[in-house]
């Protein structure tokens, strides 16, 4: 996983609440057995005027000029500004895979759906919860000022604005540690293999029916 320390990037505003994972990456693209290549189909139904199919060359598809990601001023954006309950719906990790593959490293919203929020951290994408009033202020600033960029300092837990002001944000220590170091958490957990084995063994003794194998 990519490390995340300090990131500076162009901000794109997606001004709607309850953006669901079907919107982030529609189901027809979930058939891939790969982890990469989902970026061209990020927000597919909003981004293109035709109906997306797996395996298309997206470069030749008609773009929806009204969709914010297609506006030239937001080309190359890496910070997504969003509204309440971003990422609601399914557990598909294809959603953060698509965001990451497109080039997003940060999503800022007043709230996120739980599963999506956790999935982002596994893929080097930092979801930041800010108060609704701060998010509102950012929406106004981004729309007023072309080329609006933010600096996200994860070690300091700060979002820095171009005018020099900043917003602090919260993050779990463990998630921060894994993201800053770019760590694989499976390796970390396996350091506790003896404890897991001991727990499992006690559980098997106390409730052996939990370990029954069904008919093959």
């Amino acid at each position: 996983m990519q490390k995340f320390e300090v990131h500076q990037g162009l901000v794109v505003p997606l001004d709607r609440a309850n953006v669901d994972t079907d919107a982030i990456i529609p189901k027809q693209f979930l058939k891939s057995i790969q982890r990469s290549g989902f970026g061209p189909n990020l927000f597919d139904a909003w981004r293109y005027l035709d109906e997306g199919r797996p395996g298309q060359d997206c470069a030749t598809r008609p773009l929806n000029p009204d969709f914010v990601l297609n506006q030239p001023r937001y080309a190359g954006a890496s910070v997504l500004l969003a509204r309440e309950n971003f990422g609601c719906g399914s557990s598909r990790e294809h959603a953060p895979w698509a965001l990451e593959d497109y080039g997003f490293r940060v999503v800022i919203a007043p709230s996120f759906a739980d599963i999506f929020f956790g999935n982002c951290f596994k893929n080097g994408v930092l979801p930041i919860v800010l108060p609704a009033a701060s998010v509102d202020a950012l929406f106004r600033a981004v729309e007023a000022q072309p080329g609006y960029r933010l600096t996200v300092d994860l070690p300091a837990q700060k979002v820095r604005l171009p005018d020099g002001s900043e917003f602090a944000f919260d993050i779990d220590n463990f998630r921060k540690y894994c993201l800053v170091e770019g760590l694989d958490d499976i390796g970390l957990t396996l350091r506790q293999a003896d404890r897991i084995r001991a727990f499992e063994s006690a559980r098997r003794t106390a409730q052996p029916w939990l370990f029954k194998e069904g008919a093959r």
Partner: protein
């Protein structure tokens, strides 16, 4: 010991280790696997040279991509590869899989309980948000991402943090024609799709106690649509009777010991919840969604709301976008909305009780001529066989429904069962998001009875008036 909630008990009995910041290593008893969210996890293990921690904890099936028509092979090569990748991974690693063609194959959230593979007191995970379904058995069940699937495969643990607790208490008697699905939609209508975010929801009260296990699964299934990763219902006689004699259920020699443990799986009297929501069951009417989020829901006797009456600008804009997408007018009666297709199925409503309820409505009647397709997709091969043994297949087919093979089907349209752009569907599934059932498709969520009634009438109708 202080009074504990059911969630407290399930959580504390699975903690392997905990850090000061609340990050907890939680032991996982059961891992359900399907073809869509697992291939990258298997590949990750292989690339890292890691092995499965406990293959026997896993039960796998193909459900999202499988055809529901009587074909032996999947036509779409991309879908076919995803399913065959699951088959290959399971046979290579010694994982029990109910593959296509196995009569036990079906939707992962139907077959787990059906097999007794979901037991009270377990932690259950699956790379699928509707894993909340299994909480109906007082199991701590949650949807996880593919990285977490890989983590559980390698370590038998999930890194997690304890959620806040919410009690949704539904007391009183449900009226005739009002179902578990209507409870779920009514709750979401009250608390919103983010109302349960960060919470584990326990459903209690006499109306929940009165539900069958199928009904409780429907309610817990929709907990995720309220934003909650877990839904829970306490163990009672209904739970225990459901589990007797299932393939993975405890053997006779262990049954009494297991039941004694299960009987403790309820919230203690006086246990505190972070939030309590109370709903009078008698006030719940049959529900129909009108928008593109499950919280956009109305009693069938209501009208499509008017965005002009909404003061919050973000909400108003959301309503305007939803009405434009759904092709609806503000203030039109729900019962004037005509439909093109009907889908009875999905992990929410494809169990035998759902099919019986829908069949009772359509028996002796016929699907309206204006309805292009009405389909019933049983949740598993065993549900299908049980329904056929009762003659439900003949009731549906005589009424003009198609009787299909099990799978996720038109809930999300990863197979060939999809809506065309602009088509409007009465659906017993769980999500009415834009494009969910097919690009440009318009989904209205409702109960199996209400879907059956809509199929007969060609538009939404209060099933209670149809039955009269």
């Amino acid at each position: 010991m202080p009074a504990q909630t059911l969630y407290d008990k399930l959580w504390s009995s699975h903690v392997v280790s905990a850090e000061d910041d609340g990050t907890t290593l939680l032991y996982i008893d059961r891992h359900l696997v399907h073809e869509v969210t697992s291939p990258q996890a298997f590949e990750g293990l292989r690339l890292a040279g890691r092995s499965l921690w406990r293959a026997s904890s896993i039960l796998a099936t193909a459900d999202h991509n499988v055809p529901t028509t009587a074909v032996k092979e999947i036509a779409d090569p991309v879908s076919r590869l995803q399913v065959s990748t699951l088959d290959d991974n399971c046979s290579r690693l010694g994982i029990t899989e109910f593959a296509m063609g196995d009569r036990r194959q079906g939707i992962v959230h139907v077959i787990g309980p059906e097999q007794g593979a979901t037991l009270p007191g377990m932690t259950v995970v699956c790379g699928d948000s509707h894993t909340s379904t299994h909480g109906a058995f007082a199991a701590l069940a949650m949807g996880i991402g593919t990285s977490e699937v890989e983590h559980v495969m390698a370590t038998q643990c999930l890194i997690s943090r304890k959620a806040r607790s919410m009690l949704v208490r539904v007391d009183g008697a449900l009226g005739p024609g009002v179902t578990a699905k209507d409870i779920a939609l009514a709750v979401i209508g009250v608390i919103g799709t983010a109302g349960g975010t960060g919470h584990a929801i326990e459903f209690g009260g006499s109306a929940i106690r009165g539900l069958s296990m199928e009904g409780r699964m429907t309610v817990c299934n929709m907990a995720i649509e309220a934003g909650a990763r877990n839904g829970l219902v306490a163990v009672d006689d209904t739970t225990i009777e459901y589990l007797r004699g299932r393939p993975y259920s405890p053997d006779d020699s262990e049954w009494q010991a297991a039941v004694a443990v299960w009987r403790e799986l309820h919230s203690d009297a006086g246990a505190g919840f972070d939030r309590v929501v109370e709903i009078d069951a008698a006030t719940i009417e049959p529900q129909v969604t009108w928008g593109t989020s499950p919280e956009m829901v109305s009693p069938v006797g209501g009208r499509v709301p008017d965005p002009a009456a909404e003061s919050d600008p973000v909400r108003r804009q959301g309503m305007e976008k939803a009405l434009a997408y759904m092709g609806l007018r503000a203030n039109m009666p729900i019962t004037e909305i005509t439909i093109d297709k009907v889908f009875i199925g999905s992990c929410t409503n494809s169990r035998i009780e759902d099919l019986r309820a829908a069949a009772a409505v359509v028996r002796g009647r016929h699907v309206a001529a204006s309805v292009r397709l009405a389909m019933v997709v049983p949740g598993s091969g065993l549900v299908k066989a049980a329904a056929e043994a009762e003659g439900l297949d003949r009731v549906f087919m005589a009424a003009g429904f198609e009787w299909r093979n099990p799978g996720c089907s038109m809930c999300l349209g990863m197979n060939d069962d999809r809506l065309a752009p602009g088509e409007r569907c009465a659906s017993t599934s769980n999500r009415n998001f834009e494009g969910r059932q097919g690009a440009g498709g318009r989904t209205h969520l409702l109960s199996p009875q209400m879907a059956a009634a809509a199929a007969i009438a060609g538009h939404f109708v209060d099933v209670r008036t149809l039955a009269a």
